[in-house]
């Protein structure tokens, strides 16, 4: 188990030719594969890319996309930036929280004419309502 995890990380590094400048792409790939970049993954990546562990963990912690611990359930990414605020994203966020979703705040999904905007996995929802988000969460199960 641990071995196959390590080899998936090594494969991600190899796919990008062990290039340090591809670190962010590698972190995306690893997070996609295992849901997070834990300390062990960071250690393997640092080793393969000839970076220090501090370098890798520093990059991991800088970018909000990367997390050190996997989420227990699929988060509802909700835009809390100005264009969505103007059409009630704060109210929607409160409703989604009451409905028991795990919310993740995003600043802009590029759907600013059709807000409030929400994203579930890679699926963008425009003119989002609690009902439409719930329906999409059902589909991703």
């Amino acid at each position: 188990m641990a071995h196959s995890k390590t080899s998936a990380i090594e494969a991600a590094c190899a796919r990008h030719n062990h290039r340090a400048d591809a670190l962010i792409e590698i972190l995306h790939d690893v997070q996609h594969a295992q849901g997070c970049i834990d300390d062990e993954a960071a250690r393997v990546i640092a080793d393969k890319l000839n970076l220090s562990r501090a370098d890798v963990q520093g990059v991991r912690s800088f970018y909000t996309d990367f997390i050190a611990e996997a989420r227990r359930k699929t988060p509802v990414k909700i835009c809390r930036a100005e264009a969505c605020q103007a059409v009630g994203s704060d109210k929607l966020a409160a409703a989604l929280e009451t409905a028991g979703h795990d919310l993740e705040t995003i600043f802009c999904l590029g759907n600013c004419a059709l807000g409030p905007a929400v994203m579930v996995e890679d699926r963008l929802i425009g003119r989002a309502t609690a009902e439409r988000v719930a329906a999409q969460m059902e589909r991703t199960k």
Partner: protein, 521 residues
């Protein structure tokens, strides 16, 4: 079987976000049920986002529009033989006021064709600019771009020709073209729509830039919040490579240019060019001190051109049309067309390409039809989260870099976010500081610490604590941030704060904001 019927439906993320894929399924199901043969082309969006999903039907060579479509509207379309009697019928697309009121140069193919069909691209004027560039000297290409008056569309408005000339004049073993597609400003989606709707145009602009300055490698930095744009750009690059338009022998010219896509990872500040370079090098997205400017020392220390998506995408047309012809529209030193984006509390939101010089009022009232809620408009934020809040009585402001600067505002990337009279402007000012707390890269103190203190102080004002003194403190802090920050993140965060204080002072001085509590959904 009857002759094939040609239908067009956007595959754009915004259209899909309000059900375009479901409409596509319904169209196929309904056609099959009736034994009809349809050809459904997924296109980019026309930019009329409030009409999405917007279906177009080819009737006698003319496109007829139907929208916004719901699944239950589909059977009647077939019953009425796509006639004007349908509930969603809008008539011929090109006759719509929204389309007629624009000057669609950059977006002319967007919504018209399959974004990944290279033959369609060529048949509609694609590669004309690159063909011309390959037949011209680098100096001539740069001269044409300079003459066009093209300025950076990312927000700073720096003349593209001057930037290119600087990089072209440096001897180096490697130079780079970086396309900034980290469109993080709330209220902006023009880059996304173009990447999804006409990716070849961006690639063509990058190749021309590479040929002009002597760069052989390009990178497009796209924010991770845009998965559809990332996929489309990646696929388009492959198609170009397969067609011999990228690689060691661009269009058989013997000249070399190749490119790739790099993903961002959720950091707003990486839209700042030096932070973007750090990120492209695989590092934390912390801004660099300038000088040196990237044209001298950019990616991996090599001369680098960093231009916004729309800047690069404007270049093919400028070459094909000629610099003077491009500069013939616009106003003052803001020449050509700009993609304006109507967002927030707006009835008809979307993308409008128009020459500079159009007024905010024309965009918001004539195109946008006023607020979505139907309540009076109170404030408009132009230029993203670092742009000024403009009050309702200043809507006659002309969309022009200098006119905005003179009014203490910023045109930025052309995003316009509309708020109705339920907005609490003290809260918006507080949010501007909170946003800076979240997104500051942490490199310089005015931004890193100033934003935290700013958010705390505005929170106190909102609670009614020492309002007068605390307002003075915020104003003083804003001066420090403006003058002392390394980049626009800390340097411009004061813009929304100070404009809110200037035009909406009553929201700060009366600490309870009852209007905010009774927002109608």
């Amino acid at each position: 079987m009857s002759p094939s019927l040609r239908l067009y439906l956007p595959g754009d993320a915004a259209a899909v976000s309000v059900g375009a894929d479901e409409i596509a399924d319904c169209l196929h199901t309904e056609a099959k049920k009736r034994g009809l043969n349809i050809e459904l082309v997924r296109t980019g969006t026309r930019g009329m986002l409030w009409l999405e999903p917007l279906l177009e039907v080819d009737i006698g060579g003319e496109r007829y529009a139907f929208g916004p479509m719901l699944p239950e509207h589909v059977p009647a379309l077939f019953d009425d033989a796509f006639s004007n009697a349908h509930d969603c019928a809008l008539g011929p697309l090109e006759d719509l006021d929204w389309m007629r009121g624009q000057t669609r140069w950059l977006y002319r193919r967007c919504g018209q064709t399959d974004p990944l069909n290279l033959d369609e691209y060529k048949a509609n004027g694609g590669l004309d600019g690159l063909t011309k560039a390959l037949a011209s000297s680098s100096d001539d290409v740069i001269e044409t771009v300079t003459k066009s008056g093209l300025r950076g569309r990312g927000g700073a408005g720096f003349p593209a020709g001057i930037k290119w000339k600087t990089a072209a004049g440096i001897d180096a073993d490697q130079k780079y073209i970086c396309c900034n597609a980290d469109e993080g400003d709330s209220g902006t989606f023009a880059d996304r729509i173009l990447m999804e709707g006409d990716p070849s145009l961006i690639i063509e602009g990058m190749v021309i830039a590479g040929l002009a300055v002597g760069a052989t490698k390009g990178l497009v930095y796209i924010r991770s919040e845009y998965p559809a744009a990332i996929a489309t750009m990646k696929r388009a690059i492959e198609i170009w490579r397969e067609a011999g338009l990228l690689g060691d022998d661009v269009m058989g010219s013997g000249r070399s240019f190749d490119m790739d896509v790099r993903r961002g990872a959720g950091s707003y500040v990486c839209g700042e060019e030096s932070a973007m370079l750090e990120s492209l090098e695989g590092k934390r997205g912390q801004v660099r001190a300038k000088p040196p400017i990237p044209a001298f020392e950019g990616l991996f220390g090599k001369p680098t051109i960093i231009n916004n998506v729309l800047t690069l995408a404007s270049v093919p047309d400028i070459l094909a049309r000629g610099g003077e012809a491009y500069a013939a529209v616009g106003t003052g030193r803001s020449l050509g067309t700009q993609a304006f984006q109507l967002a927030g509390n707006i009835k008809c939101g979307g993308l409008i390409e128009a020459p500079f010089g159009v007024t905010l009022r024309e965009l918001i009232e004539d195109f946008g039809g006023g607020t979505l809620s139907g309540r009076p408009l109170r404030a408009v934020q132009v230029g993203g989260p670092l742009g000024a809040y403009i009050p309702a009585d200043q809507l006659d402001l002309v969309m022009d870099y200098e006119a905005f600067a003179a009014a203490g505002a910023m045109l930025g990337h052309g995003g316009i976010v509309v708020f109705d009279d339920t907005v609490d402007m003290a809260r918006q000012a507080e949010f501007a500081m909170e946003f800076c707390v979240e997104e500051s890269c942490g490199k310089c103190t005015p931004c890193r610490i100033g934003s935290v203190r700013g958010a705390e102080t505005i929170a106190k004002i909102r609670k009614g604590e020492n309002v007068g003194d605390n307002i003075a403190l915020v104003e003083d802090l804003c001066t420090t941030m403006t003058d002392g920050s390394l980049c626009a993140m800390g340097g411009l965060t004061p813009m929304p704060v100070m404009s809110a204080l200037k035009y909406f002072r009553e929201d700060f001085e009366t600490k309870t904001a009852p209007a905010a509590e009774e927002v109608a959904g």
